[in-house]
């Protein structure tokens, strides 16, 4: 198993391997999104308390979960990049940073659009929204340091280091923000972390969560392949690939 994993980390082999998977990922994403959206918007019952606006959770919650999940994936790739110094893991770090920032931005915007009908204002210093905002700053930090260093391999290592320092700090920040929030604000969040909604509302959420993960695989593979072509443009196999197209 280890041999295969090692072989996969060479850009050339990964490019061929991922090429086979791309169409499947694309198709599966579209199917899952279709099912999830249909189920969440049409089938799931109206919430007795919030009425229809709760349906925003079918994109807000998966996006928020993804923003955290992508950061952890980025930190793991960063660890691999610093320890085993594989080119592929370095590329994963820089690409995850952008995708993670997009998911975090989505979670923030949908959180605000959900807050308006529910709490009457777009922005409340609610513990989860505040943590999400800080997570966005952490992503911007990783993107900023990656883009400010010319040599891409050094840039990836610096970004990896920051991602690892960040991932150690995320639980601490999360804990301190929750503590800070409970101190200043009476507990107002309607849906706790683990939605205790009845199954008919819960299932579409899980489907959407899986849809987001498959989508993440799809867009990550595409971005990695682009970066491989860009960095390996001088190699023979890329030239053959381009000519053979």
């Amino acid at each position: 198993m280890w041999q295969w994993f090692h072989k996969l980390s060479t850009p050339k082999y990964y490019y061929q391997w991922s090429g086979k998977w791309l169409p499947w990922l694309a198709g599966l994403t579209i199917i899952l999104f279709a099912i999830g959206l249909y189920w969440g918007l049409l089938v799931a019952p109206t919430d007795y308390q919030q009425g229809e606006s709760y349906r925003i959770i079918y994109i807000h919650v998966p996006a928020a979960w993804m923003s955290m999940f992508v950061y952890v994936v980025m930190a793991c790739a960063g660890f691999v990049a610093l320890v085993w110094k594989t080119k592929l893991s370095e590329i994963v770090v820089s690409e995850c940073a952008v995708i993670g920032a997009v998911f975090t931005a989505i979670a923030l915007i949908t959180g605000m659009l959900w807050g308006k009908p529910t709490w009457g204002t777009y922005w409340t210093w609610d513990a989860r929204l505040t943590s999400e905002l800080i997570l966005l700053f952490l992503y911007f930090g990783v993107i900023a340091i990656y883009s400010s260093i010319e040599d891409k391999r050094v840039a990836a290592k610096a970004a990896s280091m920051l991602a690892i320092v960040g991932v150690v700090n995320i639980p601490i920040i999360h804990f301190s923000v929750n503590w800070w929030n409970s101190l200043h604000q009476p507990n107002m969040d309607i849906i706790s972390d683990k939605p205790s909604m009845d199954p008919s509302m819960l299932w579409p959420l899980l489907v959407m969560a899986v849809a987001f993960k498959v989508y993440f695989g799809w867009v990550l593979f595409m971005r990695i392949r682009n970066e491989i072509i860009s960095r390996e443009r001088a190699t023979k196999w890329v030239k053959e690939l381009v000519v053979g197209r």
């Binding site: 800080i134 260093i149 320092v165 920040i173």
Partner: protein
């Protein structure tokens, strides 16, 4: 090992004292920023003392951030960073020494102006000891985390702004617990919980930060 720590602290303090004029800069910066708040917000006593903990600690974050740059700037320019990694002593010990020296120059002096700040911001008498404790425990954490950021951005242009973007989010827990402790003290509530958490943060930073700084320096040098 311990002697190497003392040696590098003495060396950095000696270097800093050779440019005595610059030693006052962090404190002056701090006092100026603190005086901006009453001017910008309102000089009303009630309002200011409620705002004081946040003002004190947001300013501490900014002062720490601005004075962080000097910790490795000179070492990168004169080439003594490379020598750190050739020593018989582990680089993390030498780096810890450098951070302690930097804290003694920029963090510790904050303690001197705590009474002045309490005066300017109408912080009541009984909260001043808490202010002392939080500054004593909090500022070393700022130096340790800030040094990681400096080690990563040392060779880059636009280092200052980039450093802020990297490091300020990581400063947030210190801000929350330190200002929380001071505001608790002002309102007479117990603040030992906050201080304990700050202490835990300091120990965590003392153990992990030197490793991260050493790795970051190796990355910046490569």
């Amino acid at each position: 090992m311990f002697s190497a720590l003392i040696t590098i602290i003495r060396r950095d303090l000696l270097v800093a004292f050779r440019r005595r004029a610059e030693l006052m800069n962090p404190i002056l910066f701090y006092v100026i920023v603190v005086t901006l708040f009453p001017l910008g917000v309102s000089p009303d006593k009630e309002f200011l003392s409620q705002l004081a903990p946040g003002v004190v600690w947001v300013t501490a974050l900014l002062a720490a951030l601005i004075s962080m740059e000097s910790i490795f700037r000179q070492d990168f320019d004169d080439g003594s960073v490379e020598q750190l990694f050739l020593s018989q002593h582990p680089p993390t010990v030498l780096i810890l020494g450098k951070v302690i020296a930097h804290w003694l120059i920029t963090g510790l002096p904050m303690l001197i102006i705590v009474p002045l700040m309490a005066l300017l911001l109408y912080i009541p008498q009984q909260a001043i000891p808490t202010l002392f404790i939080t500054v004593l425990i909090g500022t070393p954490i700022l130096s340790l985390i800030g040094a990681i950021g400096v080690a990563l951005t040392a060779g880059l242009r636009g280092g200052g702004v980039l450093l802020g973007l990297l490091v300020l989010p990581l400063y947030i827990p210190v801000l929350i617990f330190a200002s929380g402790a001071v505001s608790a003290a002002i309102t007479g509530l117990p603040y030992s919980g906050h201080v304990a958490l700050l202490g835990a943060g300091l120990i965590l930073a003392l153990i992990l930060a030197p490793l991260a700084i050493s790795a970051s320096l190796k990355i910046s040098m490569s």
